[in-house]
């Protein structure tokens, strides 16, 4: 089998697989880091964790833009033939919402940093100074973006959990290839054709 780069009607290529797991790992890590950094007692540790959260957030934003571009330039493997219409629509809506959150979470985080009257520079991984977003700088503005960022993060926790449970359901309950094909693009049983 050739080294599968691009998606096909039945399989995910390596780029889509790599971006899925890399972003998934970083995304869950960011939520954990975000929850931890506002709860630690040491102010120094909190400051350092927040800078790390900002760095990974901007890295994620870059990866997500790459992923969206790749997603639009590729076909999506079909769902198993026996998937019902409601389930197809639900899956499509959930995936759309997950993409929206991947984009909105780093953007609202960036906006809250930009709106902060503390004017703490953003220096991803201490490499360069990231400019701020053109948002109004005020305590009220910062509070608004902070709330938006937090609520979107809680929504992401719920959606990621649903996403993981749905993948496990496909694998263990339905016995189809939906989870497996996101792990390996190797030749496998094709259950997307009607039997």
């Amino acid at each position: 089998m050739a080294f599968l780069i691009r998606n096909t009607q039945t399989r995910y290529g390596w780029i889509a697989i790599l971006l899925h797991w890399l972003i998934g790992l970083l995304f869950i890590g960011q939520i954990a880091l975000g929850l931890a950094m506002v709860r630690v007692t040491s102010q120094r540790t909190a400051f350092e964790l927040i800078q790390l959260h900002k760095s990974f957030g901007l890295l994620l934003l870059g990866l997500i833009l790459l992923r969206l571009g790749w997603r639009l330039a590729n076909v999506m493997p079909r769902l198993p033939a026996k998937t019902g219409l409601l389930e197809r629509r639900t899956a499509s809506a959930a995936h759309f919402a997950l993409y929206a959150l991947q984009l909105l979470l780093p953007l609202t985080g960036w906006a809250l940093v930009s709106a902060s009257v503390l004017e703490i520079p953003t220096m991803p991984f201490d490499l360069f100074v990231m400019p701020n977003l053109p948002v109004a700088v005020s305590d009220a503005g910062e509070a608004w973006w902070r709330a938006a960022h937090a609520y979107l993060a809680y929504a992401a926790v719920v959606l990621v959990a649903v996403h993981v449970l749905a993948a496990l359901r496909h694998h263990f309950r339905l016995g189809d290839t939906v989870l497996i094909r996101m792990i390996l693009p190797s030749r496998q049983r094709d259950d997307t054709e009607p039997e």
């Binding site: 040491s42 102010q43 120094r44 909190a46 400051f47 520079p121 220096m123 201490d126 400019p131």
Partner: protein, 193 residues
């Protein structure tokens, strides 16, 4: 001597001897011990930020004294104690951060102390002050530039500037987003005691 020549001579004497006489006066009468008066003094600091701008602040509470040695200016002394709990940057959240154990740990280390070890005159009104700065249990030699701004009726005013590396005192949090160099700009007004 004609009036005209007398006038010229008088002007010449004032022009030549005047500044010398003033300097001599300030040197010979400035000697003594002064207590730093917070009312006329300020201790400001500035820390550069990556990408431009700076974090500026001041300490509102400090005490200290200055001893100006008449006979030997190099034997002069400066002692300052700063209360870091009084730090003020105009942003309550930043002040709270600076007072916390991330930076000053003001609850456990309520004082930052400077004790001069030598004063070297570098000009008619300038000197380099070397001494030990102690903060958060760490002591390190530091150098400041002092300039006599005014002296009269028992009050002496110096402007003192210097650069301190905060990493030497375990306060390097936030580098390199915030510079390791803290630029101090102090106005120390002493009242003869």
């Amino acid at each position: 001597m004609s009036f005209r020549r007398l006038a010229l001579f008088t002007l010449a004497v004032i022009a030549i001897a005047g500044p010398a006489a003033y300097a001599a006066t300030s040197l010979s009468t400035a000697g003594g011990r002064y207590t730093i008066n917070p009312a006329g003094s300020s201790i400001r600091f500035s820390i550069g930020k990556a990408g431009g701008g700076s974090l500026d602040g001041a300490f509102a509470r400090f005490t200290g004294n200055i001893r100006v040695d008449n006979a030997d200016a190099d034997r002069s002394e400066v002692n300052i104690t700063i209360m870091p709990a009084s730090v003020d940057t105009g942003q309550g959240r930043i002040d709270a951060f600076l007072r916390s154990d991330a930076v000053f740990d003001a609850d456990n280390d309520p004082e930052i102390r400077f004790r001069s070890t030598s004063v070297r005159r570098t000009g008619e009104t300038t000197a380099t002050i070397t001494g030990n700065l102690t903060a958060r249990g760490k002591t390190s030699p530091e150098k400041f530039q002092a300039e006599l701004k005014s002296f009269g009726s028992g009050t002496i005013i110096f402007r003192v500037t210097g650069r301190v590396l905060r990493s030497r005192y375990g306060m390097d949090v936030g580098t390199p987003i915030y510079s390791n160099v803290v630029e101090f700009d102090m106005t120390l007004s002493g009242r003869r005691s």
